[in-house]
């Protein structure tokens, strides 16, 4: 038997030291689960995801004099959440494709953050392209394999759900990845998944692409993950941050609300 502490004297403790006072900052990328938060809007005749709901069990009262607690309910894809490959039909037959079977080390990975906030402010239907990722790489280096590609749009700053969903008669208008970018990220950069700030990882108009919902169809079809409805992406450096994203261990779960934490090292 080898003693891991002897072999790696201080890997974890230096990490902990960094977190507790050594300058490693913990950034919460999670939206607060709120009964007023919208879930994805689908035609009313289709199956609907439950919104987040909370009913008090007791609050130091006759129902439980010493206890405050609640019953909660929601769909798996509510608030800031994790999309597992089994969520999409293209990923249904992959091994380890659900929240209970994905290897846990996959829930810790680094992140590359591409700032599209100016573009999204001008055009709510803005699509992130290969060219823009390549331009980012010229400044910050190649996207490392097994990284999250996070699209910062500042969309999460829209506190009014009407503006956040941005629906009109033609559907939602929210930014997302271009359909050409998604296979490139998988094949050329081997990302672990794609994350953004809008209600879904795909753009609001993605059902009208040649390949509808590419971020769902291709990412999940190739065993990659999704992280929609993130916030605070403006507080992350373009590269080098570490994301912790474990979904609830739901048997054959297609995803779950998740508390996404980012560890950010002090910039040299």
């Amino acid at each position: 038997m080898t003693n891991p502490e002897k072999n790696n004297p201080g890997l974890l403790s230096s990490l902990l030291g960094g977190i507790t006072g050594g300058g490693i900052q913990v950034v919460d990328l999670t939206m607060t689960l709120d009964q007023k938060s919208p879930t994805i809007v689908l035609p009313p005749e289709l199956g609907q995801s439950w919104p987040f709901r909370m009913e008090e069990i007791s609050r130091y009262d006759h129902r439980g004099p010493a206890i405050y607690w609640n019953n909660i309910s929601c769909g798996e894809h509510t608030g800031t959440h994790f999309d597992a490959p089994i969520h999409w039909i293209s990923g249904k037959d992959l091994p380890n494709n659900a929240t209970d079977t994905i290897p846990p080390e996959m829930f810790i990975a680094q992140a590359c953050v591409i700032d599209c906030s100016a573009d999204a402010a001008e055009d709510p239907d803005y699509l992130l392209t290969i060219e823009q990722v390549e331009a980012w790489e010229e400044k910050h280096g190649r996207v490392p394999p097994r990284s999250w590609l996070l699209m910062r749009t500042d969309w999460s700053l829209k506190s009014n759900p009407v503006d956040y969903l941005n629906l009109d008669a033609a559907g939602a208008h929210t930014p997302g990845p271009h359909e050409d970018l998604v296979p490139w990220l998988i094949d050329e950069r081997d990302v672990i998944g794609f994350g953004g700030e809008a209600v879904g990882t795909d753009a609001g108009q993605a059902q009208h692409f040649n390949l509808p919902y590419p971020c769902h169809h291709l990412m999940h079809g190739r065993g990659r993950f999704g992280l929609p409805a993130l916030t605070n992406l403006d507080k992350l450096p373009p590269s080098g941050s570490l994301l912790i994203t474990p979904p609830l261990k739901i048997r054959q779960g297609s995803g779950s609300p998740v508390r996404v934490l980012a560890l950010v090292e002090p910039q040299a």
Binding site: P38, W50, R53, Y164, L165
Partner: protein, 413 residues
């Protein structure tokens, strides 16, 4: 001459709100026959099948021939006012709060002499017309008013106690996003409501009906989602003490049966909106409405639920929907008993298929939303407790009374 009732002033914040008091209660089983007639807006009295004598008050055997074959029949509501008196003192707390109070004896055209609550403009010796009404305690009483409606009859304070006149009252319509919600907003505006609060759930789903309501005067559109406990609590905190007529028109129609469309999620949504939604509304708005049952001449009076007639009998084409409506109907009877302590009456309207997008495949006849709303508000003004709207609803309720097994089997075809 009845004086025109001036619109209510803003509430004086240093004046105590009077607690609700109830008129004398307790009726015999026979007397509740009158309650049933009053609830459906009929003027019907027991009539002897043997000797044709019309009875009042209700009894077990005929006062003329002692036969027990007494049947409730619609009879003429006319009569002559034999005597009248004005109560200036009472040991009863309800009447003490409302003195003076007019009472009279009417010799009905159909025979009996009837002690009545009397409208202000009735004159001794003249013709009157009677109605069966339900008082604040939920019991049937007989009211007489002038044969031809007098000018300000609807402002008669005594009559207002028995009715739910929206005039100068504030109304909350729970769902402004449906065709019927729009119709109700218009109908309450036409009826003189002082303010109409209209609920808006899921503001990101734009509704043309709500946009239409938004253009109206005296309308406040408020966030309200009956599936969200916080939302109901917040709105009740904001306007609960201003709602004098609650209109629960929550509506979530999805077609499909039980095993023909086995889907817990759809059934869940129906129960969330129709049943749990009513629980949330009642829990948050009920207490303050009950407490304001005697808050001046414009205090809270009524809680109106708009239900499907399929609350009475399950339509297998709308299996889980019908069940959620039945659950809400049962709950409304609990609400009625609880709100009665404050003199606030629960009124249920039952509608057949309405002309809207979710009834696209329902065969005609279908109800026109605006006319339906007008009829609901009209029945509310009359103080009717159970309001069937349209041929489908009327037939269902009638056949449920006649032979529930027959309608249960026939409704599918």
């Amino acid at each position: 001459m009845t004086r025109k009732l001036s619109p209510p002033k803003r509430k004086n914040p240093i004046k105590r709100t009077r607690l609700p008091t109830m008129p004398p209660g307790n009726r015999s089983r026979e007397a509740h026959g009158l309650t049933a007639m009053a609830a459906s807006g009929r003027f019907a009295l027991q009539t002897c099948e043997e000797c044709e004598a019309v009875q009042y008050p209700p009894r077990q055997i005929c006062s003329n021939c002692l036969s027990d074959a007494l049947e409730w029949r619609d009879v003429s509501d006319g009569g002559t006012l034999l005597a009248e008196t004005t109560l200036l003192h009472s040991n009863d707390l309800f009447f003490r709060d409302r003195l003076p109070w007019r009472l009279g004896i009417v010799v009905a055209d159909v025979g009996p002499s009837i002690v009545v609550h009397l409208a202000e403009d009735c004159v001794q010796g003249e013709r009157v017309r009677m109605s069966l009404d339900i008082d604040r305690a939920g019991h049937a009483i007989v009211t007489a008013r002038t044969e031809k409606p007098s000018t300000n009859e609807e402002d008669d304070l005594q009559l207002r106690e028995m009715k739910f006149n929206p005039k100068d009252r504030r109304v909350l319509i729970v769902d402004g996003k449906t065709e019927l919600g729009l119709g109700l907003a218009k109908a309450f505006a036409d009826a003189g409501a002082r303010k109409i609060f209209v609920g808006e759930a899921q503001p990101w789903r734009v509704s043309p009906h709500l946009e239409e309501i938004r253009k109206m005067e005296n309308v406040n559109i408020m966030p309200l989602d009956v599936t969200d406990s916080d939302s109901v609590e917040e709105l009740a905190a904001m306007i609960g003490d201003k709602v004098e007529i609650m209109v629960n028109n929550s509506y979530h129609l999805r077609s499909g049966g039980l095993i023909d469309r086995f889907d817990l999620n759809v059934a869940h949504d129906e129960m969330e909106i129709h049943y749990h939604g009513l629980i949330r509304l009642a829990g948050e708005f009920g207490p303050v409405m009950r407490a304001r049952g005697s808050d001046g001449h414009h205090g809270s009076v009524a809680w109106l639920n708009v239900f499907s007639a399929y609350a009475w009998v399950n339509n297998p084409a709308l299996g889980t929907y019908s069940a959620s409506q039945a659950a809400a109907l049962s709950l409304s009877h609990c609400l009625r008993a609880e709100l009665a302590e404050g003199g606030v009456r629960v009124v249920n309207a039952f509608i057949g298929p309405i002309e809207d997008e979710w009834n696209q495949l329902a065969p005609p006849p279908k109800l026109v939303p605006e006319a339906t709303a007008t009829r609901i508000v009209g029945a509310l003004k009359k103080g009717i407790e159970d309001i069937p709207i349209g041929a489908v609803a009327e037939e269902i309720i009638q056949r449920m009374v006649e032979n529930p097994k027959e309608i249960e089997r026939a409704i599918k075809s």
